[in-house]
């Protein structure tokens, strides 16, 4: 197992390097020049050239990339051409918001999707199964931005139950760290009022983001459980008098979720990507919107840094997925 983890970590380095190279080349092939935007609307060509020189944008591409790699080795992502702040600071401020939203959405998707899938499989070809299959197709097909607006209209505007946007209400002050995850930090600081405020603000964005995931997890769980229910050991255990729900929720489910766990790993990546839309609609101060602004303004240090960070997260999630597989299925542990 340790050798397995070590191998996977070793493979991460060339993966991330390749990712950086591809992203760097792609960024530099578009004509957008951050120096022009930085120089401002009344700038002269001489001003623009001076700024280009200041930021090293007039150096050969390989020199720019080499210099950037040297900075990365020292964990220095550089200064954002536009915010004027260290990119690391901007990411540190925003990434926890995206991760908190994504993780809560994922947990929600698992907590709802898995039971729904089991129910659908157990009631195979009866009305709960039909409802589930129809709803899951709809859940995958529904556009995230449409769902977000509908939830806003219903729960924030009509009913007034939940906030329309943002991560905290006006006037609420987030506790200072240590994790950047508001829910955790509030509990650690004992600020239960702010905790509830943060939780209320999280409900609609998380519900929106998790909707497609619920459908996906439900379908895969249903398929896995259905297949497992046909196996001989299930028949044996039923004959042996095992309680129905204990049999399903402990023995059948454990043997059914390998594919579902894989999907959850892939889903995490999809949720991080999908968070861009949700963050935009709900004014969630995460990394998605920050990245979009960086792309529009050709702030290439931000684009590269975000690519690297998200790449690391993907690799970590994939590794975790494989570990969970090994945990569920002992036959995989020797690999």
């Amino acid at each position: 197992m340790i050798a397995f983890i070590a191998r996977r970590l070793a493979l991460a380095v060339p993966t991330l390097l390749g990712l950086l190279v591809i992203t760097f080349v792609l960024i530099r092939t578009v004509p957008a020049d951050p120096a022009t935007a930085l120089a401002g609307d009344n700038a002269t060509p001489a001003q623009i050239a001076a700024i280009r020189h200041e930021f090293g944008l007039d150096r050969p591409l390989y020199a720019q990339f080499g210099r950037y790699l040297g900075q990365i080795a020292e964990l220095d992502f550089g200064i954002s051409a536009f915010s004027g702040r260290p990119v690391a600071l901007d990411i540190a401020q925003r990434l926890p918001a995206t991760l908190e939203l994504t993780m809560v959405s994922l947990l929600l998707a698992i907590a709802i999707g898995v039971p729904l899938g089991v129910i659908g499989a157990v009631h195979h070809n009866r009305w709960p199964d039909f409802v589930l299959r129809t709803a899951s197709v709809g859940g995958i097909a529904i556009a995230t931005f449409w769902l977000a607006i509908m939830l806003q209209l219903l729960f924030a505007m009509e009913l007034g139950w939940l906030p329309l946007r943002g991560r905290l209400g006006l006037g609420a002050v987030a506790p200072p760290g240590p994790t950047g995850f508001l829910l955790i930090d509030c509990l650690l600081a004992g600020q239960f009022g702010v905790f509830l405020d943060a939780l209320r603000h999280l409900v609609l964005p998380a519900a929106t983001l998790s909707f497609g995931g619920i459908a996906t997890i439900a379908r895969f769980t249903r398929a896995g459980v259905l297949e497992t229910l046909q196996k001989d050991f299930v028949l044996y255990e039923r004959a042996a008098g095992f309680g129905r729900w204990r049999l399903i929720w402990i023995y059948v489910l454990r043997n059914s979720v390998v594919a579902t766990v894989t999907q959850i790993g892939l889903l995490f990546g999809g949720l991080v990507a999908g968070a861009v839309v949700v963050e935009s609609i709900f004014d969630w101060p995460g990394i998605g919107d920050y990245t979009v602004q960086a792309i529009l303004t050709a702030d290439y240090k931000v684009i590269l840094a975000v690519t690297l960070v998200v790449g690391v997260i993907y690799i970590a999630v994939n590794l975790l997925t494989d570990l969970v597989h090994a945990l569920i299925d002992p036959r995989l542990r020797s690999g």
């Binding site: 578009v30 004509p31 957008a32 020049d33 951050p34 022009t36 935007a37 930085l38 120089a39 401002g40 609307d41 009344n42 700038a43 002269t44 060509p45 001489a46 001003q47 623009i48 001076a50 700024i51 200064i79 536009f82 915010s83 004027g84 702040r85 901007d90 401020q93 925003r94 607006i149 806003q152 209209l153 924030a156 505007m157 009913l159 007034g160 139950w161 906030p163 329309l164 946007r165 943002g166 209400g169 006006l170 006037g171 609420a172 002050v173 509830l196 939780l199 209320r200 409900v203 935009s280 609609i281 709900f282 004014d283 101060p285 919107d289 920050y290 602004q293 529009l296 303004t297 050709a298």
Partner: protein
């Protein structure tokens, strides 16, 4: 008392539901603004419309624009004296003005501010670099500043509001590697304006909170209940912005309320639409260096082929003012007798035929680049496509971004055939429009991206730039604009009407095209 998990869950849900109330601003005298924020907070690094909206509240300038049409008012300066030849300008500061740290504003602070702008060489410096050297700014007394220009520059006074006066005592404490405190000021503030930044809550493009500065030099007698603070909470998504306004959690939107939303806001009980004619022109550029746009008959054909009235009336629902010239029609120097071009397919056809006979390649597809994030550029391009098609012109719409376009327009060969944009009010002088758009010396900048060249126009514009006095300059600009319109280098469509959704509790709103009415010192909130 033991509580089961089920009971705990029910209690939590109940708490959530009982806390559900219709959202309002948490504090009664804090205005929640949906305006966009600048990329960073240093007014010497960034100068665009969002920065104008922020800096007008946190910084002061020697002169400031107020009212609509905007009038230049002495602000930190009590007055100025230009030399007859326009080569030097002397400004007398108002005594008793304070920075936010309580230190008095002196002539040396003004000198430092201008030298900082020149040294950083970014956005606001563009108007000054060609005419002002760092040692040309000097303090001739504790409260008098002298500017010695390299050559006469009549828009100099009009450009004064571009430079915010910053506190050197604060900035010098935070300088790093001779950066003039740029890294620090990007997330902080060193001003004297009516409101002070709370840096601890700042998040770029997301949150800015301001608190009132009681000792502002203007005093507060003109506003019985000034705002205690301003909370900038820009909202990216149009639908969310509208809902927030209608819900009451936002006191005003930005000034680009979509025309489709105007009826809804106007019909609501909680908000109204603030409509003000701006000085922001909307136009379609033509690359005059590239065939067929190097042919005047082709350009006139294109000018007659756009349905101006239909665009303004049907698509914009009348919320724009037809403006057939490059300049806002509310500005001096605008020739009232110029009719411009109107939608006339017959004339367009006639001019296209002449152009074809002269060899203009009107058979090739023409690309028009739009700014994907801005709906009106798409709408204008699509309308244009539909009116050009019957005339045998194929218009291809290309999605693009501002960053790409401003880079590509640096060279004639990479400038698109056509592209769509606005020209905002950076300073209130014909130089901001006609001067910087059609003097060929500005080729390579996005404003001059039509690559138009007319030596007579160059001569008039340069003479106007060097002549002191509006009465002498106005006829020069009028003559230049008549020539420019006759040459038809671009397609000028409208002057903007700002549409801003405003909560009915907001009172005292004063619109000025510079800043789009975001100066909040006049605002109070009705109880």
């Amino acid at each position: 008392m033991e509580i089961t998990r089920r009971e705990a869950g029910a209690l939590t849900l109940g708490a959530l539901l009982t806390l559900a109330v219709r959202a309002r601003a948490a504090e009664p005298d804090v205005l929640v603004s949906g305006d966009n924020l600048p990329q960073n907070l240093d007014p010497h690094q960034i100068f665009d419309v969002p920065m104008q909206g922020y800096a007008v509240n946190t910084y002061d300038t020697l002169y400031r624009y107020e009212g609509n049409p905007p009038e230049l008012q002495p602000w930190l300066a009590a007055g100025h004296t230009p030399a007859p030849d326009g080569m030097s300008w002397e400004f007398a500061l108002r005594p008793g003005s304070l920075f936010h740290d309580g230190s008095p504003i002196t002539a040396e602070d003004v000198v430092y501010s201008f030298r900082r702008v020149l040294a950083l060489g970014k956005a606001p410096a563009g108007a000054f670099l060609p005419v002002l050297k760092p040692d040309g700014v000097t303090a001739t007394g504790p409260l008098t500043v002298r500017f010695q220009l390299a050559h006469p520059y009549a828009p100099f006074l009009a450009a004064m509001p571009l430079v915010s006066i910053v506190n050197p005592r604060v900035l010098r404490q935070h300088e790093k590697d001779n950066d003039w405190g740029a890294a620090w000021l990007a997330s902080n503030e060193a001003g004297s304006g009516a409101y002070v930044l709370k840096p601890e809550t700042y998040m770029p493009l997301q949150h800015v909170d301001l608190a009132r500065f009681d000792r502002h030099f203007m005093g507060w007698k003109d506003n019985p209940r000034p705002l205690d603070g301003v909370a900038y909470r820009p909202t990216k998504e149009t639908s969310t912005r509208l809902l927030a306004l209608l819900q009451g959690s936002l006191d005003w939107t930005d000034s680009y309320l979509p025309v489709d939303d105007v009826t809804q806001v106007a019909a609501s009980k909680i908000a109204h639409v603030q409509k003000d004619e701006d000085m922001r022109t909307f136009l379609i550029r033509m690359n005059n260096s590239k065939p067929p746009f190097d042919n005047i008959n082709a350009r006139k054909g294109f000018a007659h082929a756009f349905d101006y009235h239909g665009f303004i009336t049907d698509i914009l629902k009348g919320y724009a003012v037809r403006d057939p010239t490059p300049m806002p029609n509310t500005l001096w120097g605008f020739p009232k007798d110029v009719a411009g071009y109107e939608y006339d397919p017959a004339k367009a056809k006639m001019y296209f035929e002449r152009a074809r006979q002269e060899g203009a390649p009107l058979h090739r597809p023409i690309q028009i680049h739009i700014q994907e994030a801005l709906d009106q550029t798409t709408q204008a391009a699509q309308l244009y496509q539909s009116t050009l098609a019957p005339l045998g012109i194929t218009l291809k719409i290309v999605n693009d971004t501002w960053a790409n376009l401003t880079t590509n327009t640096a060279h004639p060969e990479t400038t698109p055939d056509m592209w769509v944009h606005w020209v905002s009010t950076y300073f209130v002088d014909p130089e901001n429009w006609a001067g910087q758009m059609y003097d060929s010396q500005f080729g390579g900048t996005w404003k001059a991206s039509s690559w138009y060249k007319n030596p007579k126009v160059d001569e008039l514009l340069r003479q106007a730039r060097a002549t002191v006095g509006q009465e002498a300059r106005a006829p020069l600009y009028e003559a230049a604009i008549r020539l420019i319109v006759a040459d038809s280098p671009d397609i000028w469509i409208y002057n903007t009407v700002d549409l801003r959704g405003v909560n009915n509790r907001v009172a005292g709103f004063r619109f000025c095209p510079v800043g789009s009415g975001t100066e909040v010192r006049w605002i109070h909130l009705a109880a």
